[in-house]
């Protein structure tokens, strides 16, 4: 299977879109909102239409394209942990939706990895966090702001600080993702996914940095185990595989 020039063109377009905004004079937190706004456009149906299926890239080539982004470079100078890691474990935030009833996250949010369907994310209902930084609110919080008033993410949102202390795999770009999948492969049909149960034997969490989201979103990669399944994160995210948190602290209630 060969990589696609269409796919590389789509990645270059993505970088151009990031570099085009946000409008001059925007607040720091609007930079994360801009990034989320750009990345959310790259959905499964968009990628199938524009980049082919699979939208296959070489990791080193993709990371090199992403590293041309002036926007990411500026963001990384202010918030390196968000853009390239390593994760600031004390700066983690989890946001509960209306359906969570204002309750803080707990170990009950984590479901066993066994017998799950293959997925690029650990399991449905996973506990994931996003990082606060000098840019202000977390990128997930910025993403949600785009959906304020939507019944997809009904208000109120309870924003909880959840300081963590665990062993975290850092995914800073496509090369790191391919390495993770190569080390913990789970091949199903024509695609390779991470074997999350195996990942959990070595790590408590997996941090998908913003630079990695830009490289990975919607793309498959050539790995020694086969073609990786595409993933869609939209925002800087850490997926947690076990409960490693200190006592959650409520930071903000939005829309109560």
């Amino acid at each position: 299977m060969t990589t696609s020039s269409n796919a590389l063109g789509v990645l270059r377009d993505r970088v151009r879109q990031l570099d085009a905004g946000p409008p001059a004079g925007s607040r720091a937190d609007q930079r994360l909102e801009h990034a989320a706004s750009v990345l959310q456009q790259y959905t499964n149906t968009f990628m199938a239409e524009r980049a082919g299926s699979p939208a296959l890239l070489e990791a080193a080539e993709a990371d090199a394209v992403v590293d041309t982004s002036a926007f990411l470079a500026r963001l990384g100078a202010v918030a390196p942990a968000v853009v390239r890691g390593p994760l600031e474990q004390q700066a983690q935030v989890w946001i509960g939706m209306a359906r969570h009833g204002g309750r803080p996250p707990s170990s009950h949010n984590l479901r066993p990895a066994r017998q799950q369907a293959p997925s690029v994310t650990p399991w449905s209902g996973t506990l994931f966090t996003s990082s606060t930084s000098p840019l202000g609110a977390s990128m997930w919080r910025s993403y949600l702001e785009l959906y304020r008033g939507s019944d997809l993410y009904p208000l109120p949102w309870h924003v909880w600080s959840v300081p963590a202390e665990g062993r975290v795999a850092q995914i800073t770009g496509a090369k790191d993702w391919v390495s993770l999948v190569d080390r913990y492969p789970r091949r199903v049909d024509e695609l390779v996914y991470p074997d999350w149960e195996a990942v959990a034997t070595d790590f408590d969490g997996v941090h998908i940095c913003l630079r990695a989201v830009v490289s990975l979103q919607g793309f498959s990669y050539v790995s020694s185990r086969g073609v990786t399944a595409p993933g869609y994160w939209d925002v800087e995210t850490t997926h947690w595989l076990r409960w490693v948190f200190q006592r959650p602290r409520l930071l903000e209630v939005v829309g109560s």
């Binding site: 946000p22 409008p23 706004s37 959310q40 456009q41 790259y42 959905t43 968009f46 008033g149 997809l152």
Partner: protein, 165 residues
């Protein structure tokens, strides 16, 4: 009675869809069967973009109906996102999204008001059922004092896509 369609450029760098239609009525009244133009077709008609002129500046607002898709964060849901991106902040934007399944309206977001921003977004989401989906949007924008025209509005459909749950 349907009003004549106008072409409204909906070009964004990637994934953009052209919008067709000048109706501002409820989603169910919008012209069914109108197909989205290709981005190339839209970019050939830049003078049809909604814009306002001032003595020394132009504000251009670009609408976009994204492809309906399987929601990443809310499993078992189909979502469509619509956006309006302006080159400078404007005092007021009203933006509305709707989602059609096999040609029938299944969700209307209602209008969302955004004040003092260069960007507005709305969405419409429903429980996933394997079918053909199409998004629709309408928007109304008020430009800052001194700009002409003082406001603009349009509506239109995005691409039809088949979604498997």
């Amino acid at each position: 009675m349907k009003r004549p369609f106008l072409s409204v450029a909906g070009m964004m760098l990637a994934g953009s869809l052209a919008l067709v239609g000048a109706t501002a009525g409820p989603a169910g009244a919008a012209g069914r069967g109108a197909s989205g133009l290709t981005p190339a077709s839209a970019s050939a008609q830049p003078n049809h973009s909604r814009h306002a002129l001032a003595a020394d500046s132009v504000i251009t607002c670009t609408p976009n109906v994204q492809n309906p898709h399987n929601s990443t964060h809310v499993g078992g849901t189909v979502n469509v996102v619509v956006t309006l991106s302006c080159t400078s902040a404007v005092p007021y934007i009203s933006i509305r999204a709707a989602l059609y399944r096999n040609g029938a309206l299944v969700k209307d977001s209602g209008a969302k008001a955004v004040y003092g921003s260069a960007f507005a977004q709305n969405n419409a989401a429903v429980t996933c059922s394997s079918a053909t989906y199409q998004g629709w949007m309408s928007y109304y924008v008020e430009f800052p004092p001194g700009y002409s025209p003082a406001s603009g509005a349009s509506s239109g459909f995005g691409n039809s896509v088949y979604i498997t749950c």
